[in-house]
Amino acid sequence: MIANILRALQQPEYVHVLINPLPVYGQACGLIALFIAICQRSRRATIVALAIVLLSTAAAWPVYMYGEKAYDGVLSMADADGQAWLAAHRARAENLIWLFYAVAALSAVALIAPIKWQRSSPPLAIAVLVLGVISLGAGGYIAYAGGKIRHREFRNEPPPKQSAGATQISSNGVASAQVTIETLKYSPETIEIKKGDTVKWTNNDLAPHTVTSQAGDTFNSGSIDPDSSWSYTFSQPGTFPYYCTFHPEMKGTVSVK
């Protein structure tokens, strides 16, 4: 068991999940203590509270670092929706992580400055409290996307739109969308395109598959062998559910606007 724990500690995604409550719940406890200390007008209690806030917000740095290290591994494990949540999780973290560093720096100042200027203690403590509450909100916003990467059961809404990846704009200005077929799944399962766009399905699986429209005979690829692809241009708007005639449990949708 100890060997397994040591092995888990080598995995950046494990360490990331292990320590990521610190900047959120750790800081929240520190801020509650700080609020009480301010009400009590106690410099000693303020010092304790500020130390907790400083340590827990500084922990945002290893959380962020291990998260970045884990990105590629988790990306390869996540399903299409999970990948969209992962991209959002990373973008939010990269945009907002500075807030935690700012709280850490400000609480360091709030600990040290009053040694020389006693009267600066209460206003600095209040400033830490305000900025801390803002960073907590940011932490919740980042973690909200993070929790949905691997937990399908928490996904109560559609995934955020991915800015890059699914669609590429070709030189003539026509968006052409790519769908890969892997381990008996179309990825992404649902794709949104514009009228006149071409979708290309590439079979990266071990078995042959088809792309066949559910309704009528709008389109039917016939057998697409492994390492082959098939394209279709959608000239009419509408929603086109399709499936694999060889493996009817495989389903996808093209939505044409």
Binding site: L184, L206, P208, P226
Partner: protein, 182 residues
Amino acid sequence: MVLYMKNYLFVFSALLVVSLAGTLSAQTGSTTAAPTDPQIAMIAVTADSVDIDAGKLAAEKSSNPKVKEFAQMMVRDHTSVNKKATALVKKLNVTPEESDTSRSLKSDGDKNLEKLRGLSGAEFDKAYIDNEVTYHESVIGAVTNTLIPNTKNAELKKLLQSAGPIFNSHLTHAKEVQSSLK
């Protein structure tokens, strides 16, 4: 002098522990006899071929459309997986090697074919599908519990891992056809 004695004792007991541990691990290594990559490649190719042969027979002999369709899927998918496996083996310059597991797979497959050839109609359909259910169950078990954990080559491992969902889907289909026959 006493100090020297203590040191000798310590070194001696440390050596004893190390050599004991060495013998133990050598013993466990020889008794489990994990399959090597060339053996794993042979097991995978044989398992596929056995199912292709049974599928071809069923596609020809059965008159039940569901059984026929299932048999065609087995031939199509397993032929495709085998093509990929053979190409990879060639690329990696590995010569598939026979083992007890691959030999017993082959002989069990031959026995099943022989039995199926003697049957016809609903009896044939039932025997074929029943065997497909148990066969896929045991292949999935072997792939996940023995083959994947023992595969050293990353590409071969990936191939086995991506074959997993296909075999699982076959099992689901086989069970559906099985319940439709009752």
